[in-house]
């Protein structure tokens, strides 16, 4: 009884979360131009509830990694991800953030998933705004289904706690 109640509550929470994504654009490179275009009036990301870029990671729950991540930038990216409040989601915007793209050399990180967990990868160099919006909708779907990395990790922790023998049970963390 108690468990089903929690699930219903989670559903409601996830429904709310998916329509109020506060983005933090970690803009490093060319993809930033398309990020601008996506945010500006023609493509208007506001229609999907991710209108307002919060330029502080502490007030954001969606991290857009926009552009190439270099070895020098990687610790900065990791720190910013750590600073974000939970539950948090990460979108790799563009092929450089996803895999490193055609920059395979001594200073580019082959995908930002080497440093932080990524929920949605948007290909394209740079991706068109339509692709970005598609990626955003995909993320919203994942949030509703509770299959983003943070949500899966929380479930896993719950399972582990349930299996533990010392009888203590960890409560789900609701941010």
């Amino acid at each position: 009884m108690a468990e089903s109640y929690t699930t219903r509550l989670d559903d409601a929470l996830n429904w709310a979360r998916k329509y109020s994504l506060f983005t933090y654009p970690f803009v490093t490179a060319c993809c930033g131009m398309e990020y601008m275009a996506t945010a500006a009036s023609k493509y208007d990301i506001a229609r999907f509830g991710a209108e307002f870029p919060r330029f502080s990671p502490r007030q954001a729950d969606l991290l857009f990694v926009v552009g190439t991540i270099t070895e020098r930038q990687a610790p900065v990216l990791h720190r910013i991800w750590m600073q974000m409040a939970e539950p948090k989601y990460v979108v790799a915007f563009g092929v450089c953030a996803s895999t490193g793209g055609f920059y395979q050399n001594y200073n580019t990180v082959p995908g930002c998933d080497q440093v932080i967990p990524v929920d949605v990868y948007i290909p394209g160099c740079p991706p068109r705004p339509e692709q970005v919006l598609d990626g955003l909708i995909l993320l919203q779907k994942k949030i509703a289904e509770a299959t983003t990395w943070v949500q899966r990790r929380d479930r896993k922790e719950l399972e582990l706690a349930a299996q533990s023998t010392d009888g203590r049970k960890r409560l789900p963390v609701v941010a």
Partner: protein, 449 residues
Amino acid sequence: MSTTTQSKTGSKKLALGMPTPEEITAGGIPGISARPKLPPDLMAKLNNEELEEVEDIELPTEPMTINMGPSHPATHGTVRIILTIDGETVRDSDVQVGYLHRCFEKEAEAATYTQVFPYTDRLNYVSPLLNNVGFALAVEKLLGIVDRLPERASYIRVIVGEISRITDHLTCLGASAMEVGGFTPFLWMIKVREWLWELLEELTGARLTHSYVRIGGVAQDLPEHFIEKLRAVLEKSVEVLGECESLLVKNRIFRDRMDGVGTISAEDAIAWGWTGPCLRSTGVPYDVRKDHPYLVYDRFEFDVPVGSVGDNYDRVAVRLEEIRQSMRILDQACKQIPAGPVLLDEPRICMPPKNAVYNTIESMIGHFKLIVDGIKVPPGEVYSYTEGGNGELGFYIVSDGSGRPYRCHVRAPSFIHTQALSKLILGAGIADIIPTFGLINMIGGECDR
């Protein structure tokens, strides 16, 4: 009451722009009519001579080191500035670049000359076609085919290059306006940029990273009615540009953030290696298109706008005027553009048409050789320079006679401009860093390569 408490200090203004006591009593401050009168004992205090020292009082502060960036919300581009500040004043700064070092030069050494084009797109990613043209001209100089380029190809390069320059300046101005709080010009300028990108997409197949220029010409001819569409877009754009201009240059807040901030003299600018709109803002009319004409730039009439003081506002004004001049060039180029081929007829350099590749053995072999070995460029070294979005964009290429560059160095104007940022913000307030940095127009891809 008002007669008995006449101020001894006359009309001297107190610190912080506060009204003088008699202004308060008389209620005659412009714009404020019914000002409540102050009690007499407070008036006496206000008239006290000791208060004049207020002007000199500064809160005691110790120099403090703070870190700005590398992911600062108000800067476009990843740069880290370590500031030593005294209150609000910058006493010292260490600008650190390199957060977007994607190893263009190492990648270029591993790629054939044609494969380098996509990398050049991502140097100054706000005006990719200008980089394409710059790199193509450098290789063509090595090959000795600059004079033999098809005329139509040269015109197309000018047209796409100038469209790119307009988008570059629009992005710079729009983003800078947004960073000081003007969101409307940003939206309007991005709107114009969308129109231009749509045109370029029709021509090249990509919105931003075009890779459209080839060694010996361009990839394909203009689509049907391109010239008419371009004319229509330019007509619309001029209107929007006028609106944006009136929002910026007549805006008190914008002017206060720009006027007299980040000033640099012409001598200093030359010593720091500045080129492009930044150098022209100091009054030096150096424009590669005018001083060393390449392609067909000597056939167009256009002016080189220069500033007078070299402050942020001059950099805005120069860019705004350059957009207009680019439109002038586009207009003339649309009239003059001749018919003809767009790629040099030279099988050792240029790809044969696709139809021939599938139907004749010679073209097939030529295609195969060009793809696998690359274009054989004679050994030697060249430095070729064009006017990029930010200034003199130079490519220094060393060839060893193979199909790949032995060394390919970019003279990146952003890198050289950003170097002087420390000097520009010295003694300025923290808030002045943002517009100064924005109008230097540091583009990460170009600065760090």
